[in-house]
């Protein structure tokens, strides 16, 4: 259990990250608020509670880039002022995360389905180097329709990569509709279990559950999949559970309303 102080701190940080997400997307008039807001708490827990300097983070669902930049800004790894350059010409904050543009990004992403394979390579390198570093991966639920995810899932388990801690940001929605409408992927817990993973299912907005799941994962003998039940657009009432807010920027009125809700 987190101390109430710690939990409050994480909640406040996640709120700031959500505000940063909205600011970037509003300012750029471009971006993906729904899936960025849904993984904000997971990123907060990783960056502010778990990640060491040698651990790596892969945002496999790269379109949620605003959430990653917000976490880096709140974590003082980039200047908060830089968020206003998001998605603009000449910015280090590319539309989808680029390690080449911004050194603090461990792995470039954006083309879906590739993060877990890259995590496997990093995890295998750590194993060869006999260190205990962890690789965190955040996958989208639409993303897992990519066949490469399942190739990689096999590899993680074949090579016993217990040093991988993956999150499935399970908000159950994607561009064209709900997962069930677009491509039914259920039951995901059984699928990952069948692929040889240690699967935990949690509320992806409850910090106690997120931290507990990561701590459990550190003692696992298998690669770890934390299925985090989340709400797309979490924190902004009119964006919550709305497919339409996958890749749309708010107008001025909507932005002001959203920021008011988060203050």
């Amino acid at each position: 259990m987190l101390s109430s102080d710690k939990e409050e701190f994480l909640k406040k940080t996640a709120k700031d990250i959500r505000k940063d997400i909205l600011f970037q997307i509003y300012n750029a008039q471009s971006g993906h608020p729904g899936g960025a807001l849904s993984c904000a708490d997971i990123l907060t827990a990783i960056y502010f509670e778990e990640k060491t300097n040698d651990d790596k983070v892969i945002l496999s669902k790269g379109h949620a880039s605003a959430a990653l930049y917000a976490a880096l800004a709140e974590h003082s790894e980039i200047n908060k002022d830089e968020l206003k350059t998001f998605r603009k010409y000449g910015s280090r904050l590319q539309g989808h995360p680029s390690s080449h543009a911004l050194e603090k990004i461990d792995v470039s992403s954006g083309s879906l389905g590739q993060g877990l394979s890259i995590a496997n390579g990093i995890a295998l390198s750590n194993k060869l180097n006999k260190n205990d570093n962890k690789t965190y991966v955040i996958l989208g639920d639409g993303e897992i329709a990519e066949g490469q995810v399942w190739e990689a899932a096999m590899t993680s388990s074949h090579y016993k990569l217990k040093n991988i801690i993956a999150f499935l940001d399970y908000n159950k929605m994607q561009i064209d509709g709900t997962n069930d409408e677009v491509m039914k992927s259920r039951p995901l817990d059984k699928k990952f279990k069948a692929f040889g993973w240690n699967v935990q299912e949690i509320d992806g907005h409850d910090f106690n559950q997120i931290i507990d799941a990561i701590e459990n994962a550190k003692n696992s003998k298998k690669p770890n999949m934390i299925i985090a039940n989340t709400v797309k657009g979490k924190g902004v009432s009119f964006m919550e559970n709305q497919v339409g807010w996958h890749g749309k920027a708010p107008n001025e009125e909507q932005y002001n309303l959203a920021m008011k809700e988060l203050s």
């Binding site: 790596k56 680029s98 390690s99 080449h100 461990d106 792995v107 470039s108 954006g110 083309s111 590739q114 877990l116 394979s117 890259i118 995590a119 496997n120 390579g121 990093i122 995890a123 295998l124 390198s125 750590n126 060869l128 180097n129 066949g147 490469q148 190739e151 990689a152 096999m154 590899t155 074949h158 090579y159």
Partner: protein, 329 residues
């Protein structure tokens, strides 16, 4: 005689001993790509990824991020073809230190037929920013290339082939045609004439002015055979071994175009987008010249013995001779 894939296997064996950062990935083809030698010697640094090339390329990217020097191997069709987008986005875009050694390129795959004959891989790979593309022609050149790739920090695509080919730069340099005055030179002097391998620098065989034949991979030996035969009829051509397709050696291309009557390109690859296109791109901008592109004429391959296919598709030494003679007459 040795296949360049065998030379690759031997190179890995040697480099793997010296450099502990080298890791090798394969997609269930270690016996064919010849990574099996590395596998048996350094099992802890060999990773079979199963028949999952996209995952293999992604994993190689992760190894590079983890500070290793990954060599990924499978057939060219499955590397450049199936995993194209992974190579582009996971390796080349972040400019990662991954080496893709793709074997069984071109029609010379032979019996397996069109599904396995990559005739588009040079084209696919050379359009990707940050990518270096190497297509060695013999044992020694392959070893040079692998050695260079290990030292170079960045993505490299190395195109290797299935059939045994002549040794052009090795112990058996009979295919190097020495010009008349050079024939008189001592053995020692001849050894010193051996071309030096430098990435991005083509190797020019001979000084004939009747035609230049730019060749790559298995076609270098065919072009040298043609050069030999033509010399008997007092037709003197020069053969340019284009081991590096990208970056392309503009200077040598322009020089040869200026100095010779004709320019011919030949590759075991489609005439669209490969070596021929690369040469034409340079000449059309720098020194407009008519170019004859010999290669696979926008069609698929088929099953057959590899030399039979080269003959049928007009890619053997005889076809080169015929092409050169066309204009002579």
């Amino acid at each position: 005689m040795k296949a360049t894939r065998e030379s690759y296997g031997e190179a890995l064996e040697k480099l793997g001993k010296k450099n502990k950062d080298i890791v090798v990935l394969d997609a269930d083809l270690a016996n064919a790509t010849m990574t099996k030698k590395f596998k048996s010697l350094y099992p802890k640094r060999f990773f079979d990824m199963g028949i999952a090339e996209q995952d293999m390329i992604g994993t190689a990217a992760g190894f590079a991020i983890g500070g290793k020097i990954p060599f990924s191997s499978t057939f060219a069709i499955f590397a450049a073809g199936r995993a194209y987008e992974q190579i582009r986005n996971a390796i080349a875009y972040p400019n990662l230190n991954v080496k893709i050694a793709a074997t069984h390129a071109g029609l010379t795959v032979g019996e397996d037929g069109a599904s396995h004959q990559a005739i588009e891989d040079i084209s696919l790979m050379r359009t990707i920013p940050n990518m270096t593309v190497i297509s060695p022609c013999d044992d020694m050149e392959t070893k040079w290339a692998i050695d260079w790739a290990t030292k170079y920090n960045g993505p490299v695509y190395i195109r290797l082939t299935r059939p045994k080919v002549e040794s052009i730069y090795g112990e058996n340099p009979e295919l190097i045609i020495l010009e008349n005055d050079e024939k008189q030179k001592s053995k020692e002097e001849k050894r010193n004439l051996k071309p030096k391998f430098e990435i991005g620098k083509m190797i020019v065989h001979g000084e004939g002015n009747d035609a230049t034949v730019f060749a790559t991979g298995v076609e270098v030996q065919e072009a040298l055979k043609a050069k030999n035969e033509l010399a008997k009829q007092s037709i003197n051509i020069r053969v340019v071994d284009v081991h590096t397709i990208k970056p392309i050696d503009k200077e040598t291309i322009i020089k040869c175009a200026k100095e010779t009557d004709r320019v011919i390109t030949i590759e075991d690859h489609s005439i669209i987008g490969g070596l021929g296109s690369a040469i034409c791109e340079v000449l059309s901008e720098e020194f407009p010249t008519k170019v004859k592109r010999m290669g696979v004429q926008d069609k698929f391959g088929t099953s057959g013995k590899w030399h039979e296919l080269l003959e049928e598709y007009g890619l053997d030494s005889k076809s080169i001779i015929e092409e050169v003679l066309k204009k002579q007459n």
